[in-house]
């Protein structure tokens, strides 16, 4: 049970303060790859809302726009209506399977390169080095007294943090409204309150999560590292310290004195110094390792300096590690990448993508929904005929006005009209103009002779009266007296 000693001493404390992480500047192929991914992802994030895309006069000209007010989602030439939300669900499923695919093939590559938490942390750590200097200078400054220099540097650094954070929050809202207009309204104080609140919240989260919590998010908050553990197998790539080659550790001098007694690791600690999450990869695979591979770059450059082969720390699967430990030669990485598991994930991922593209190409942009009024189910008319009421909804999803014809079939002697029409002039079909990119709703009256089955199916169809004759039809019931319980 808890006792006073529990709260004291190194191992008894209930709470642990965050240990500062001051990653050292490093260069190498992985670092350059990471810069490239950062540039691309940030460019996509900040830039996408500003791409224009001409859709004609009846739709916004923003290439990617989530128009919540009008319930439309635009992505280049694709326009998604709310009832087509399954496309978004499909995208999410693809994203999920994509993560499975990436994780089973190349381990935590998402964590190491593309996760926003990683990208923004990397950006903020770059700002740290820009203002405070490299690792040693950062540590000195952090531990030093609050001199004028420290206050000035901290002020400048946090100001840059805040600017980046604000820009990040500001870019987010651009996806939900016309970007140039919203930018103007935002600074003129005319934007919707939700825009300011969103920017404030995202500025705060970016500032805190990217500027201060950093690897704490990965280790304590994010569920994905834990789920990935289940997604990986012995053929997934891991950043591995090859202890069978590196141990026991010894400096170059010691090794010269005692040839053969030491492994390749010169215990220079560079892998620890450059790690953005502050771990020691030589302790083996661990939750804190996001596999960003910066330690590989650091170690490779040291190995080059001391004239030993690169790859003491390298991407390596558990299987390969066992092979190499036993003295064998691991197969090339491409062989471990293509295996049934990754191929099945890829096949699924590709199939869903192709199916969505196919249905996107095939979908009709004119459809109807008919709902039978329940109260009353039918109306007895004075001449003995029966009238049923329906709510007719016609969706014109094209960006042009269209004239359509609504036709009734399968109900002998029936006629239909809407509120604007009249029974006397009604026929088997009626014509309606549809506004572009809109839903036209109308009350539909259908009258049929009183003699007939109590419940009868018939069809209402819509077709466009222009170059594209595709339309939609729906079978629905006509009720006569005798149907109620």
């Amino acid at each position: 049970m808890a006792s006073p000693e529990d709260l004291t001493g190194e191992h008894g404390s209930l709470y642990a303060a965050r240990k500062g992480v001051y990653p050292k500047k490093v260069d190498g192929p992985f670092r350059r790859f990471k810069w490239a991914i950062m540039a691309v992802t940030l460019a996509i994030y900040y830039g996408t809302p500003w791409i224009r895309w001409d859709r004609g006069p009846h739709a916004p000209d923003q290439a990617v726009l989530v128009d919540l007010a009008n319930r439309r989602f635009y992505m280049f030439q694709i326009e998604i209506w709310p009832h087509e939300f399954y496309y978004v669900a499909g995208l999410l499923i693809m994203a999920g399977i994509g993560l499975f695919l990436v994780t089973s093939a190349v381990g935590r590559a998402w964590c190491g390169y593309a996760c926003p938490q990683t990208v923004w942390t990397d950006l903020f750590q770059y700002v740290d080095r820009l203002i405070d200097g490299d690792r040693n200078a950062q540590i000195r400054l952090a531990n030093g007294p609050w001199t004028a220099e420290k206050i000035a540097k901290r002020t400048v650094k946090y100001a840059i943090y805040l600017t980046v954070a604000f820009w990040t929050g500001g870019a987010w809202i651009m996806y939900f409204a016309d970007a140039p207009t919203l930018t103007h309204d935002f600074w003129a104080g005319q934007a919707a309150p939700v825009a300011y609140v969103t920017v404030a919240v995202l500025t705060a989260t970016t500032f805190v999560l990217g500027g201060f919590l950093r690897e704490q998010v990965c280790i304590y908050m994010c569920p994905w590292p834990r789920i990935q553990t289940a997604m990986m197998d012995e053929k997934s790539l891991l950043v591995t310290y090859k202890d069978w080659r590196g141990e026991p550790r010894g400096s170059v001098k010691k090794a010269e004195k005692n040839p053969g007694a030491f492994g390749d690791c010169v215990d220079c600690n560079q892998c620890v110094a450059v790690c953005p999450t502050g771990i020691d990869i030589r302790e083996g695979p661990q939750i804190g390792c996001i596999t960003c591979a910066l330690c590989i770059d650091a170690c490779d450059s040291v190995m080059a300096q001391v004239g030993r082969p690169r790859g003491l720390i390298d991407y390596c699967t558990l299987d390969d590690a066992a092979t190499e430990k036993a003295g064998g030669i691991a197969p090339p990485i491409r062989k471990t990448l293509f295996r049934p598991r990754t191929l099945i994930y890829f096949g699924l991922w590709g199939a869903i993508g192709l199916a969505m593209l196919f249905t996107l190409g095939q979908r009709t942009r004119l459809d109807l929904a008919v709902q039978h009024e329940r109260s009353p189910l039918y109306v007895q008319l004075s001449d003995g005929a029966i009238r049923n009421n329906y709510t007719l909804k016609l969706r014109n999803m094209e960006l042009r006005p269209r004239d359509v014809e609504v036709t009734l079939s399968g109900l002998p002697g029936a006629r239909l009209w809407t509120e604007d029409g009249a029974r006397e002039t009604a026929g088997q079909s009626l014509r309606m103009p549809l506004a572009p990119d809109s839903v036209t709703s109308a009350k539909l009256f259908v009258v049929a002779p009183g003699a007939g089955p109590a419940r009868q199916d018939f069809t209402i169809a819509v077709r466009a009266l222009d170059d594209d004759p595709r339309g939609d039809r729906e079978t629905i019931q006509f009720d006569r007296p005798g149907t109620e319980p």
Binding site: L14, Y220, L381
Partner: protein, 312 residues
């Protein structure tokens, strides 16, 4: 519980001392920022308790310095919505009801507003969607009207009600209780019923219906018309069609002639504002049976205080 605290070799972390079948639990310390988050939530809670209603007391709860209440918020929202609707309501108020259909947007707003008011004030008798209740209350969706089905007439009927004894402008008429008051003998009533069923094409002509025709001419035609076509000035239903409010079979018609219902409706002008009534009229009109205003100058009719009566 036995204390088996020790330092775990692999992680260098203390164990909690709990052990189940050899499985031990690491006592990993929480990150300190988590503790700060906990303190922050406590501070939030205290601020909340001060600002908002929180502690339950014997009568109600502490009020909070902001004075917020869900009832107050509802009032604000209702007020804001009333303000939002004000331009439309004013436009409806300023438009004569017969002119509404010429302004589709306004008409649609009126129909929607009327639908909402209908659900509050009218469904109790007329049923959801104005479907009516068989043998009790008329359907408002069909093409048969007792007092008339154009917009102005419906508005008048709703405003002044039907058979309100203490109201001069109300729709009123009184069908005599031919059976109860002994005006006709039961056999004569049977003959009249035969005639009514003949003119509504439910029975073939017979000796009884021939006798009934004579009685009808003398007793009924003054209101229902010589051919039984009804008379809207007095709310006398058409007897030749397929719609029977109180039933069209022999027994039902006999019961009606013996002791008529003479149904009533409250005059809503005493309870609802004119705009709501206008919207109710538009809604009822839109249910499928709405009639065009009668040809002889509807403008004149509205000018004279919204139609003298329910002209056909």
């Amino acid at each position: 519980m036995a204390d088996h605290k020790r330092i775990d070799d692999v992680t260098g972390t203390a164990t909690s001392g709990h052990e189940w079948d050899g499985i031990e639990e690491l006592d990993t310390p929480m990150p300190r920022w988590w503790l700060w988050s906990l303190y922050a939530t406590i501070v939030w809670g205290i601020v909340y308790v001060i600002l908002y209603p929180a502690w339950p007391m014997i009568h109600g709860a502490t009020e909070g310095v902001l004075g917020w209440s869900s009832r107050g918020q509802l009032e604000q929202e209702m007020q804001a919505d009333a303000q939002r609707r004000a331009p439309v309501m004013n436009a409806i108020a300023a438009t004569a009801i017969a002119d509404l259909p010429a302004k589709p947007a306004l008409m649609q707003a009126a129909v929607q507003g009327g639908a909402a008011a209908f659900r509050v004030h009218c469904v109790q008798c007329h049923g959801a969607g104005g479907a009516g209740v068989k043998k009790l209350y008329p359907s408002l969706t069909d093409d048969d009207w007792l007092w008339g089905g154009d917009l102005s007439t419906i508005e008048y009927t709703i405003t002044h009600g039907i058979r309100n004894p203490d109201h001069a402008a109300t729709r009123t008429s009184q069908m005599p209780a031919f059976g109860r008051d002994g005006i006709l003998e039961p056999a004569q009533i049977a003959d009249v019923v035969s005639h009514v069923r003949v003119i509504s094409h439910q029975e073939k002509p017979s000796a009884s219906s021939a006798r009934g025709a004579v009685l009808f001419e003398a007793n009924c035609a003054v209101c229902h018309g010589p051919a039984g076509d009804g008379g809207r000035e007095v709310g006398a239903p058409k007897l030749t069609d397929a719609i029977w409010l109180y039933g069209g079979d022999r027994a039902s018609i006999t019961a009606t002639v013996t002791q008529p219902r003479n149904g009533v409706m409250p005059r809503w002008g005493a309870r609802l504002d004119p705009v709501t009534i206008k919207m109710l009229a538009a809604y009822v009109y839109s249910l499928g049976g709405g009639e065009k205003a009668p040809a002889p100058a509807p403008a004149a009719a509205t000018a004279e205080g919204r139609g003298a009566d329910g002209q056909p």
